[in-house]
C-alpha cells in the first residue's frame, strides 16, 4: 500500500461525505471497496472518506429495470435474485466474468463506474444497456447516461461528488456479453456487449458496444444501423465479421497490438451477436 494519507473518515451520511470532500479541496477521495485506491500512488491525497456506512448497498427491481446502490459489491449483485434475472441473466454473465470471487467481494458497483477503467468489463455492458448514473454534489442531485458522463471530464466532476445509484433500464430484447482475455479472470484484451430486439424475423433494434480497444467501451452506431432491418443468421454474421475488420477503430497497448484487435473484433462481435439473437428469439417464443 502506497498511500501516505493523513486521515481516514467514516462518513455517516451523504452530506457529511460531501462536506468532507469539499474541505479537502481535491486532496480527499471517496472510498468504497478500496480496491483501486489501495493500489494508487496519489501523493496528493490527504484524506479518505469511507462511504460503506451510508446504506447504499442494495439491488431493487423497478418496472423491469434495476436500481443498484453505489456501495453494493459485485458479489452482492451476483447474489441478488433481481440482478440475476435482469435481461435474462445478462448482468450476472458480465459480473461473473469480472476478476475473481475475492476481488468481487470487495469491488463495488459504484467504484467500477467511478474508476471506469478503459479495459474493464462493466463500462462496456453499461454503455450497451444505456445505464444511468445518479450522483449528488453541493448543488444537488444529478443523473446522466454513463456514456454522457464518461465523455466529459467525469474524474474532475466526481472529485466533489458521491455516486449514489446506478439505474439499468428494462429492454424487450436480449443482450449477450463477450470477452477475450489471456485466462479466466484476467482483464480483457477486448470485450463487447450486444443487444438485439427481433421482430418478424428481423432485427428491430441493435445496441452494440465494444471496449478495451484499448479505449473504454463505446457504441458502434454504424454497426447498429447495419444490423437493423436485417435477418439474423450466418449470412449477416459474415457481413459483421468483414465490416468490423474493415471499419473498426482499435489501437495498441502493452497487452495487444492494433492488428490483433482488428482481426479479433469481428469474430468476437459476430459470436456475441449470434448469442444475443438466439436469446432474443427464444424470449419471443
Amino acid at each position: 500500500m502506497r498511500l501516505k494519507i493523513k486521515r481516514f473518515h467514516y462518513a455517516r451520511d451523504v452530506e457529511e461525505a460531501l462536506s468532507l470532500l469539499s474541505a479537502y479541496r481535491g486532496r480527499g477521495a471517496i472510498l468504497a471497496g478500496g480496491l483501486d485506491l489501495a493500489r494508487s500512488f496519489n501523493p496528493k491525497l490527504e484524506g479518505l472518506i469511507d462511504i460503506s456506512g451510508l446504506g447504499l448497498s442494495y439491488v431493487h427491481e423497478q418496472d423491469g429495470g434495476l436500481r443498484i446502490g453505489a456501495t453494493t459489491t459485485l458479489t452482492e449483485v451476483l447474489e441478488s435474485r433481481a440482478a440475476r434475472e435482469y435481461l435474462g441473466g445478462f448482468l450476472a454473465e458480465v459480473v461473473g466474468q469480472v476478476a475473481n470471487p475475492p476481488l468481487r467481494n470487495q469491488a463495488t458497483f459504484g467504484g467500477a463506474v467511478a474508476s471506469a477503467h478503459p479495459w474493464a468489463d462493466l463500462p462496456t455492458a453499461l454503455v450497451a444497456v444505456g445505464a444511468e448514473v445518479r450522483w449528488v454534489d453541493q448543488e444537488g442531485e444529478h443523473r446522466a447516461r454513463v456514456e454522457e458522463l464518461w465523455q466529459g471530464e467525469f474524474r474532475r466532476l466526481l472529485s466533489s461528488a458521491v455516486i449514489t445509484e446506478i439505474f439499468l433500464p428494462p429492454w424487450e430484447g436480449a443482450f449477450a456479453f463477450g470477452k477475450l482475455s489471456r485466462n479466466v479472470g484476467d482483464i480483457a484484451l477486448l470485450n463487447c456487449a450486444c443487444g438485439l430486439g427481433i421482430e418478424d424475423g428481423k432485427v428491430a433494434w441493435a445496441r452494440v458496444a465494444l471496449g478495451a480497444t484499448p479505449r473504454r467501451g463505446r457504441r458502434l452506431l454504424w454497426l447498429e444501423d447495419l444490423l437493423t432491418g436485417e435477418a439474423p443468421g450466418e449470412e449477416l454474421w459474415q457481413v459483421v465479421r468483414e465490416q468490423v475488420e474493415a471499419n473498426v477503430e482499435v489501437g495498441a497497448d502493452r497487452r495487444a497490438s492494433a492488428a490483433w484487435r482488428r482481426a479479433a473484433a469481428g469474430p468476437l462481435l459476430a459470436r456475441t451477436l449470434a448469442r444475443a439473437a438466439e436469446k432474443a428469439t427464444a424470449r419471443q417464443r
Binding site: 480496491l35 475475492p102 476481488l103 470487495q106
Partner: protein, 161 residues
C-alpha cells in the same frame, strides 16, 4: 503528518483495540499482530497470498485498508486451526498432497472455506472458479482441487467444525 488512529475489530474470535496508520493496509496490520499466515506476494491484488476472511468473505488484505475493518470480523488461517489442532480443510490439503512450498496455501484454504460455507457439494469446476484468483507456482492446482473436494466430502460426512 499522519495521525495515528485506533480501531476495534475482531481477530480470530478475539476483540482487538489497535493503533493503525490511516493509510496502512490490513496486510501490514495483521503481520504486525503476528499473523504470519498472511503472506505478502504482489501487494497489487493479483496473487491472493494475502487472503483473509472479512465477515466471512475472502478478500485481499493488501488492497484493504486496515481502517476498513473497524467493527468487523477478520479471520486468518490461524483462526481455523494450527499444527496441533488442524482444521479439516488443513488436513485435507496435507492428505491430498496439495502443499509444496506453502506460500499460497493459507489463501487457498480461506477461499475454499468461504466456498464450502456457501456450497457443501461443489463440482470440480466450481472449485476451480473459486480458487481462480489465487496463484500457486508449485502444485499445478490439480491437488488443490482434490483437497477441496475431499474437504467437502468430509464436511458432508460431518467431519467439520
Amino acid at each position: 503528518m499522519q495521525e495515528a488512529m485506533k480501531i476495534y475489530f475482531e481477530l480470530n474470535g478475539e476483540q482487538r483495540y489497535v493503533e493503525i496508520e490511516p493509510g496502512e493496509s490490513l496486510l501490514s496490520l495483521l503481520r504486525r499482530l503476528g499473523m504470519k499466515s498472511v503472506k505478502s506476494g504482489c501487494e497489487t491484488g493479483d496473487c491472493g497470498a494475502c487472503t483473509v476472511l472479512l465477515n466471512g468473505r475472502a478478500v485481499r488484505s493488501c488492497t484493504t485498508f486496515a481502517a476498513q475493518v473497524r467493527g468487523k470480523r477478520v479471520t486468518t488461517l490461524e483462526g481455523l486451526g494450527d499444527v496441533d489442532d488442524p482444521h479439516p480443510l488443513q488436513e485435507a490439503f496435507v492428505e491430498a498432497g496439495a502443499v509444496q512450498c506453502g506460500f499460497c496455501t493459507p489463501g487457498m484454504i480461506l477461499v475454499a472455506y468461504e466456498l464450502l460455507s456457501k456450497n457443501g457439494a461443489p463440482t470440480p469446476q466450481e472449485v476451480r472458479a473459486a480458487i481462480s484468483g489465487n496463484l500457486c507456482r508449485c502444485t499445478g492446482y490439480v491437488k488443490i482441487v482434490d483437497a477441496v473436494l475431499l474437504a467437502a466430502q468430509w464436511k458432508r460426512e460431518g467431519k467439520w467444525r
